[in-house]
Amino acid sequence: MTVNINLWAKTGSLSLPGAGTVPFWGFAGAAAGPAQLPGPLLEVPQGENVEISLTNDLTFGVSLVFPGQDFIPQPVKNPDGAFVSYNLETAPGGSLIYSLTASRPGIFLYESGTAPEKQIQMGLYGAMVVRPPGFDPGNPATWTAYGPGTGTEFDVEKILVISEVDTAIHQALASGDDPAAYNLDYFLINGRSFPDTLNPDDSGTQPYSGKITANSGQRVLLRIINAGFMNHNIRLQGIDIKVAAGDSRPLITPGLDKSYLKHTVTIGSGQSYDILFTAPAAGNYILYDRNLNCCVNGNNFPGGILTMVGII
């Protein structure tokens, strides 16, 4: 079977605390919808052939790559042999279909493979979750991250996409100028900086809340994926977390349990971790980047990669 998905690459405007609005490039899930950060969360069943039709409303070529997934990229070189893109480009005003096979479950990035040093910083990325066989959204008894025998049963799932913004680079690239010196000043969970991370889901350009809510005793699955350029040290204060998968490779397989406990996890650029915990006593537990320079908006604490796990 084939899952058909449509994405549009567009310009848009981000709202960041203390920075007003900042131009960005992102993916939209509808022709009339806004570009969003991160791009639309894609959800597909394992084993399906996925065809993503990308329509390019930007003024330069863009493309899609699917790190960790089963696809064959077609790198592009210019006539002089210089490298241009990790995958076939969709021309401005055009559209192109990118295919992959969702051959294993997990959490993955999709991102531009064209001038990625600019286009990913500008926001052309999103997350895709591949569901294991037997996963039925309507039946909580079937909810696992990696299928039976992987110890990844959960009651509450939260996907957290980590990234950064350099507002000066955004302004420069949006105006067609060369980027200024790289100096990141905003640090994001699901496209938002604290305290906006705590707001609920909405239908704007940064639609996904960064807040985790669960009842005491529930099994919580955090799927943290780093779309940014930096490594981030994500800490959940006061709760033992079990690392159940790295880069969507489950650490528990029948007969062998290689999962381990941590309180802080270094998540490299482009990497992901699936983390499990049982919600403890009621209260607010902070989740933040122990690289404390990323808990700011501009120069001001608190901000950035900081959110709450609210246990009821």
Binding site: N183, D185, L261, T264, P280, N293
Partner: protein, 398 residues
């Protein structure tokens, strides 16, 4: 058992080997004492009920977070309650946890706070400020906690362990190395009360136990380093099990490696790398010590056993071909054999004591082994292997 600990959050100065004196905030273990870097080591036993009172004499509120401990209670005089992030009346986050206010703040809380938790797991942990942590942690408001396993008994070899009997974590000597960075511009701005922009963070010094090389290699409690009491030199004898506990209290990740040796990581963040019978420990040459995380490693130096009576089956280079002269000093003994000393080139001073071996331990981000741009310095120390029977009770953390 109940353990009561009192800390004072105060200020002081640290010294760097290039002659700088840098203003710090930190913890001391007695009223009237200057802040030390890192804060006082806290050593408790699994199952202990640990109460830590922070008396704040800084000009702003401060607090403590205990990563790796759960169910931490806070009490500012109104009774203990689960330590929680603190918001002001308008809903703005003002502290990552309950805090001690600054003395004399007219409208709010007492300037001291008592945190209580049960040390549920053995291992290596940090304690650190949760209030303006982007400033207070780099200023020095951090320290380390060692939790001994419940069955710990240093008199019984099978119970002198990091994580308990039968966990494969026996050790003979142990060392704790807390790594961090210093941006003097931040420290100077805090001292003078001027503005500091966190986006301009640029460390000039990198520390092990609050010291920059070569001070890292001095003993504990040197009079010339009154507020940096802990050395970072690792000393052991051949065949001994050496436990090294790394803790990353800075905001950067540091790739630490020990020349000529691979260490086995047996625990991270105070959690044993073992699930039932499945041993998850692993060997590393370079240990990427992540910000806010801890790594417990055990290894043994055995050497190849050569001696003057059983010589190394190769030609030892001529003195003139050994690069020991340039700096004017060396740690080389003049002999390739443990416990032996030999000729040193004229004009070179050897700091080797009794023919011990030295292996460099440093951050492989090489700019971090400088003191404000001058090599050698920064995040660098040594492992020294001494002849059997010469070290006494060195390397036991009390």
């Amino acid at each position: 058992m109940t353990v009561n600990i009192e800390l004072w959050a105060t200020d002081g100065y640290m010294s760097t080997p290039d002659g700088n004196s840098i203003y710090i905030w930190g913890f001391s273990d007695a009223a009237g004492k200057k802040a030390q870097l890192p804060g006082p080591r806290i050593v408790v036993t699994q199952g202990d009920v640990v109460s830590i009172t922070v008396n704040n004499i800084l000009p702003e509120a401060t607090s403590l977070l205990f990563p790796g401990q759960s169910g931490v209670l806070a009490d500012t005089g109104t009774g203990p309650h689960l330590a929680q992030p603190q918001f002001d009346g308008s809903g703005n986050l003002v502290s990552l946890t309950d805090f001690a206010d600054y003395p004399g703040n007219p409208d709010t809380n007492p300037a001291s706070i008592k945190y209580t938790f049960t040390a549920g797991n053995p291992g290596t942990y940090l304690y650190e400020s949760g209030t303006n942590p982007h400033k207070q942690v780099p200023m020095g408001l951090y320290g380390a906690i060692i939790v001994r396993p419940a069955d710990y008994d240093p008199a019984i070899p099978t119970r002198k362990t990091a994580y308990g009997e039968n966990t494969g974590t026996e050790f003979d000597r142990e060392y704790l190395i807390v790594v961090s960075e210093i941006d003097p511009a931040l420290h100077s701005a805090v001292e003078k009360g001027t503005e500091y922009k966190i986006r301009e963070f640029k460390p000039r010094y990198w520390t092990m136990n609050g010291r920059c090389a070569p001070d890292t290699m001095f003993a504990d409690g040197m009079g010339c380093l009154p507020n940096q009491p802990y050395g970072a030199m690792i000393m052991a004898e051949p065949g001994e099990k050496i436990l090294i506990r790394y803790a990353g209290s800075g905001i950067e990740n540091h790739p630490l490696h020990l020349h000529g040796n691979h260490t086995r990581i047996v625990a991270e963040d105070g959690r044993l790398l073992k699930n039932g019978a499945t041993d998850l420990s692993y060997k590393r040459f370079t240990v990427l010590t992540g910000s806010g995380q801890t790594y417990d490693q055990i290894f043994t130096w055995s050497g190849l056993g050569y001696s003057p009576a059983d010589p190394i089956p190769t030609t030892v280079p001529n003195l003139r071909n050994l690069g020991v002269g340039d700096a004017g000093w060396t740690l080389w003994s003049g002999s390739p054999y443990l416990g032996e000393k030999g000729d040193i080139p004229v004009g070179v001073t050897s700091f080797n004591g009794i023919g011990e071996y030295y292996f460099m331990l440093h951050s492989h981000e090489e700019m971090q082994i400088t003191n404000w741009g001058e090599f050698p310095g920064g995040m660098m120390s040594m492992l020294a292997i001494f002849p059997a029977g010469t070290l006494g009770d060195t390397g036991i953390i009390e």
